[in-house]
Symmetry: C2
Subunit: 320 residues, 2 copies
Amino acid sequence: MENNAAHYADRLEAAIQAKGAPICAGIDPRPEWIPQSFYDDAFKQHGQTPLGVRAAVRGFCLEVLEIVAPHVPAVKPQAAFFEALGSGGWDDYFAICAKARELGLLVIADVKRGDIGSTAEAYAHALFGEREIKGVKLESAHVDCATINPYLGGDSVVPFIERARTHGAGIYVLARTSNKGSAEFQQLELKQDGALVDEVARKIDAWGSESVGECGYSDVGAVVGATHVEAAQHLRKLMPRTPFLVPGWGAQGGHAAAVRACFDADGKGAIVNSSRGVMHAYASGPLKDFGEEHWKEAVEQAVKTFHAEISQLASEPAAP
Amino acid sequence: MENNAAHYADRLEAAIQAKGAPICAGIDPRPEWIPQSFYDDAFKQHGQTPLGVRAAVRGFCLEVLEIVAPHVPAVKPQAAFFEALGSGGWDDYFAICAKARELGLLVIADVKRGDIGSTAEAYAHALFGEREIKGVKLESAHVDCATINPYLGGDSVVPFIERARTHGAGIYVLARTSNKGSAEFQQLELKQDGALVDEVARKIDAWGSESVGECGYSDVGAVVGATHVEAAQHLRKLMPRTPFLVPGWGAQGGHAAAVRACFDADGKGAIVNSSRGVMHAYASGPLKDFGEEHWKEAVEQAVKTFHAEISQLASEPAAP
């Protein structure tokens, strides 16, 4: 990413047009669901060691990226599954991000970071652009977008927005997440009108108002789960120019109506993610019959089905 | 940490007794405030390269740990400043945690993680204990405690509690943070009685109720900033058995009255953190006159002053 690169929302829209569907493949590698052949090869080279496990996970993710690249505009590597590999896991995260960029994919870092002031700046340094210390360039993961947690308040979110924006990147702020317990705090009713998530939504809309791309959407997005129809309809109205990242399709039981409600009337303004339903298609879900030796075909079939389902959904008329 | 190790709150209380003050040294390395001698040595060995910068930062942090170890029961390495070093920064984070454990210090991982279900489990795998994949043991950072963000709801917090508890570790959930913007969402008034932070506090109290140590405190703590007196008094009452982690002393302008309110009547139940005020004492703040060549003396003076101030504060009578 160069300084003053094109606006994030415009780059995303162009990538969606090029690939024909507003979808994102989540890269959430679960070691127990990776074909044995990757471990066999990696252990031959690195021994039955932590480095061997990491090489197997990395190798699998790199092949998944190759398979999905023709079909998706973006991928969303989940930091947790790389951190769980131990001290070297963050190296693998960087490698996956680099490979995705090489393949022309937008990279959405699912990191859900959030901290105050100069600490938020440090997290942002890890994600966007590069910086110089004592004449040495330190590289970030150079991602196009990252997920951010708003609980600490606006002064914890703004450092991410500012650093992302300088590099033509964006952020998605957690609004209504896709998990069952998401209502516990997010839907608490406020003394003023509405729920906590509504106040978060109003702030997201305001933060993004300073930078709206040619496509009509801003570089400050919102995470809105595919699991709550009414919440999606309501939040779409509260944040008319906010791009949505929509998790929860597939394994988490997302609903078509909730996903449709995340798009605007023209079927724009959202990108839908599927993680294990695509990358681990052979190991769980409806494509299990492919079996481990045909895991690649399972991933390809899964991403094509996902592409067809969501492009169809986005093109349907919006609910009244 | 072994399975079924002693309760986190009891281990913390014992460590506080041994060192004589409920204080924690934050390890937040800012590359621009590290003495030049560390860069000179590291560049000699690794060249003027990213690895050289990382070696300088790591070397500085390791020496800081040696200086503060006799005076503090715990340290709190801030993940953001290690992630900001690039892909290898997480290796350095593990190294700092390992060295702190060797020195007999409790380690509070300031990571502010939060995610749903199996993703939260993956983050917890990176922090507590070890796990086995294909016969290979993958190590975590083996920390004693970690900071967690509650925005996603209870089902995002519980996986951290469960994994920590199995290893005699604990968590601190963000309640009221120390930044200026913390009120923006945390103090929103609810239709039901109180503010968002009160509801978070009630949940923290409930999550911890299942595991209270002999000292009377649980293994589910709360982050309560040293910058809001009334909030601290109120939250102490709402969470009588919850250990507090209190950031904001020193550079962030924490108030003595707010810190005192975080302790119970006996001066127990909280640990106060200072980050740049200790480790970067020579570079900013009242001990700047020590100068770069006397940076060690500045750190030692700063940690001793911090020790005296907080042990005095904790021993004072509580406000009525």
